[in-house]
């Protein structure tokens, strides 16, 4: 005996259908304070040499905010560019490839950014 359930499994809302929409808004909200703090920080670091930047980044609060900013920004960027590819790339295999690369590149760059911040923060 079969019910229509098997046709909607994995396709439907089941509380995850709005994940993209919701995470885009949630990351946007988080990026309001994080983004302002980041731009303020960049301005204070203008013209600073390597030692000053390292000393600045070693502060635990700054390292935390910087890692959170990078991770949140890359998540938000991934969601945004995903929609751009979905909207403008119409060739099936090209769209598929673009969406996969979009995921990989964002995870790669986001991980490199966060690990670099941690490396400086925990470095000797």
């Amino acid at each position: 005996m079969q019910t229509p359930m098997k046709r909607v499994r994995g396709l439907g809302s089941a509380k995850s259908g709005t994940e993209h929409f919701w995470m885009q808004r949630l990351t946007a909200l988080a990026l309001i304070p994080l983004g302002l703090w980041f731009v303020y920080s960049i301005v204070t670091l203008a013209g600073a040499d390597h030692d000053s930047v390292v000393a600045w980044m070693r502060h635990p609060v700054r390292a935390t905010l910087l890692a959170l900013f990078a991770a949140t920004a890359f998540y938000h960027s991934k969601l945004g560019l995903q929609v751009v590819f979905e909207d403008y790339v119409h060739t099936g295999w090209l769209k598929f490839t673009a969406l996969i690369l979009n995921n990989f590149i964002h995870v790669l760059l986001g991980a490199a950014a966060v690990i670099s911040v941690l490396r400086v923060a925990f470095g000797d």
Partner: protein, 147 residues
């Protein structure tokens, strides 16, 4: 409509009999207005910010490695072309930031009236000009004083 309206390649819909129906007018038909301008700019600045995120990672990795690598990235950033990109990035940031808040307010149900939509649109542009000017005034003041 005629066959010339079919997409050049890769369109999903060319095989569908329903595709021969009249099409909605496309972008170039409409008169420009701030509502469509702010929408298009939001996506365009988002793409600029994504490219800027690549530079952010380069900078952070260079800070972590130090030495020659940092010098190379610092040279790119301080080069006139690098500064020009940072200037563009800051405009894109402040625009996407302010218009993003406008979007969040819409999501909360505020500001859908035509009058408010226009007013908030102009507010975004005013914010971008003011915030970009203040930011670069402070940054150049700092570089000038530090060097």
């Amino acid at each position: 409509m005629t066959a010339s309206n079919k997409p050049a390649s890769g369109g999903y819909q060319t095989d569908s009999p329903r595709f021969d129906r009249p099409l909605s007018p496309h972008l170039q038909v409409y008169r420009w207005q701030i509502t469509m301008l702010t929408s298009i700019l939001h996506r365009a600045t988002g793409i600029v910010l994504s490219v800027g995120a690549l530079l952010l990672t380069c900078w952070l990795v260079a800070v972590a490695i130090g030495g020659e690598h940092y010098a190379r990235v610092a040279a790119i950033i301080t080069h006139p072309a690098g500064q020009a990109f940072l200037f563009l990035w800051s405009i894109a940031f402040f625009y996407h930031f302010a218009n993003g808040i406008r979007h969040l307010l819409w999501d909360a149900g505020w500001g859908f009236e035509i009058k408010r939509m226009y007013a908030s649109g102009y507010t975004v542009f005013a914010f971008v000009v003011a915030a970009t000017a203040i930011t670069w005034w402070l940054a150049w003041d700092k570089i000038g004083g530090g060097a």
